[in-house]
Amino acid sequence: MVDARRKGPRGSLLRSQWFLLLVVVLLTSAFTGAVNPRFFRVNNIVNIFEQISTLGVVASGATILIISGNFDISVGANIGLSACIMAMLMKANAPYPLAVVSGLGVAVACAFFVGFNSIVFRAPSFIISLAAIGVFRGIALALTQASLQTIYGKFEALGSTRFLGVVPLIFVVSLAVYAVVGFILKFARLGRRIYAIGANERAAFLSGVNLNGNKLAFFALNGLLVGIAATMLLSRVGAAQPSTGAGIELQAIGAVVIGGTPMNGGKGRIVGTFFGVLLMGVISNALNMLQVSPYFQDVTFGLLIIFSVAVSAFSQKRGRAAA
């Protein structure tokens, strides 16, 4: 208790994960910029923001689920399926709002499917969502006959608009998503349930929290965010195929973990996820700028995630020892 009182605002700033991440982001940027000055060009920086927008939206949803003690690793396949359905509708000249709403609906339904099965069969959502990858991707392959669905010249506004010529619209959307998720976590009753269920499910149950209904709500909310990410991706790329979005689940979970949310839930903040995503974007761009082979980029991200898990494991151990 003495320790807690001694800890001033500066101590807590130095200890908070997001501040450390910011420092790492700045150091990485400074180093890359020194080696390759093109890094600091406006165009490149705008590029980074554009690249991390989709990941940011998916990672926001992952933050909710991981804090609540759940996982959905089918979000990549979910993006593929819902983006394909949107693209096919747009190709068939359906009005954009209809196509987008359908896509969002599919994404929510897919996420709901994962949550529902994991609750009904009392199975870890990790396993259920692993199996769901095959289901979603298979459906997407069947619908598209495995062909690329191009919509060039259509539905470009979301992906290509830049305010003042520099700020990408999709980045603004992703910021809005962070803000909404942050608001839910801090100010909404739903947010309290996310933390409570993640911290101690039995205690939440004995305090009157409806476990199943709330978990379904978390999954559905995650699905909505996945749908938004799919829409952003489709508009930016102008085409979709079943493999669109593949692998983004690992990046998203990685960003959440790097942002200081422990894998066993009950804790975590959206600001951490924001900086986790930013760090991944900056490192990815820096590796390009430093002309590192793309194969080694995957290696780098894998190691980075392992490193953050190790950091969080150590800090938790220390926390327990102190308690």
Binding site: Y195, R202, G208, V209
Partner: protein, 497 residues
Amino acid sequence: MTGDPVLSVSGLTKSYGAQRPALSGVSFDLHPGEVLCVVGENGAGKSTLIKILSGAVAPDSGSVVLCGKSHLALTPREAMALGISTIYQDVELIESLTVADNIFLGAERKGPLPLTVDAKAQGEAAREHLDLLRIDIDETALVEDLSAAQKQNLQIVKALHRDARILIMDEPTSSLGYEEKRSLMKLVRELRARGIAIIYISHYLEEVFEIGDTILVLKDGERVATYRREEVDVDLVIRSMVGRDASLFYRRERVNLGKVRVEVRHLAWAGRVDDVSFEVRAGEIFGIGGLVGSGRSELVGLIFGMNRREKGEVVLDGLPVKASGPAEAIRRRISLITEDRKKYAMLGPRSVAENVTLVHHEMRGGPLLDLGEEARLTASMVDRLRIAVANQAQEIASLSGGNQQKVIIARWMLEDAELYIFDEPTKGVDVGAKEEIYKLMVELARAGKCLIMVSSDMPELLSMSDRIGIMRGGRMVRIVENVDIGEQYLMREFIGV
């Protein structure tokens, strides 16, 4: 007993945290072929003693001398290597392997080819072991097909196969039927005749008197006495298990009781709670006592809707409480402060404020939180219950046990319940906080609330309760007015002698 002891324990002390030690200066000798029975009420220190001897926890001080060699702290592996085996219920056996495989687990007979096992030789040796102790189990049967009693026998065989010289048996008969108990008693005698020393822990005094050579009585972590069986009777043992200093009793203010508000009728669940009925009046603290495993926590969990009751009903102020779960119980203004804080109550990594207002937010208010109100409510509770916190944002896990408990009590008092159920209200709580919790309980009673209090702490039960319901084997065997009854009377009722 004559000859050198196989095990000599002296001055064993162990404390967890700041409370009174779980074990304090306990000493005894154990000779080959001796059955030492350890008795004492819940929390007397029996489990801690077993844990130290089996190497699960290290003592703070004291020594364990095994066959003349002193050991400061054992690891489980060392304990086993030195010939101490603990027989637990149901654990340590691999269900999907055969009886013979389990006996030889970790020390398999090698077959003719590398990495193979000589199953035939193992089977024959297993048969021999089983026959030697006259245990009637097929060595080729799978463990999952055995009864609880057979599994226990198998564990004993396994221990002997590992050259155990000391067997520790913890409540070995608690899940056995009459016939199985008889045969276990026979087996224990058989083992004793073979020179195995046995530490036998049991609540059942008739067993203790049947097979014990020596009886070690523990109370509040201390050794009260060690008796030779011939020199004592049940009365004397019970008297030494209880009987505490008057200073351990809390003097509570008495409250006038009102009309009956809570009626529990014929509650039953899964054989663990068997047709329990009782009433609680306004302002009453209804104590529930009994041994661990007698169904006390299950009973109160059932009233709260933690489990679906199979039979019976709970009526509060004339209206039945639906059995649909805790949310319904809370809406009817029933609170349950659970026994195991960490497992059932605390949101460990969350703040004091979030922990205090968990039920409040769940039961009222719209989709958005009123954080200003939350801070006010938390502050008023921190103040009222005198919870020592640095600030409201402090994680509950970093508080002391007493303060954690107060935070949980605050969570329920905030909702102003009508029926408060306290399951071990002061477990793991320091003395100062204990008294404050008692004061709070009396305050609630004075406000006309109903209280049900489950407690293993005999002075607590006797100090706080207006009436005491005694649980034994899932049934509430007796309800007594708490006047002129003492610890001995209760202990007798708990054990059923």
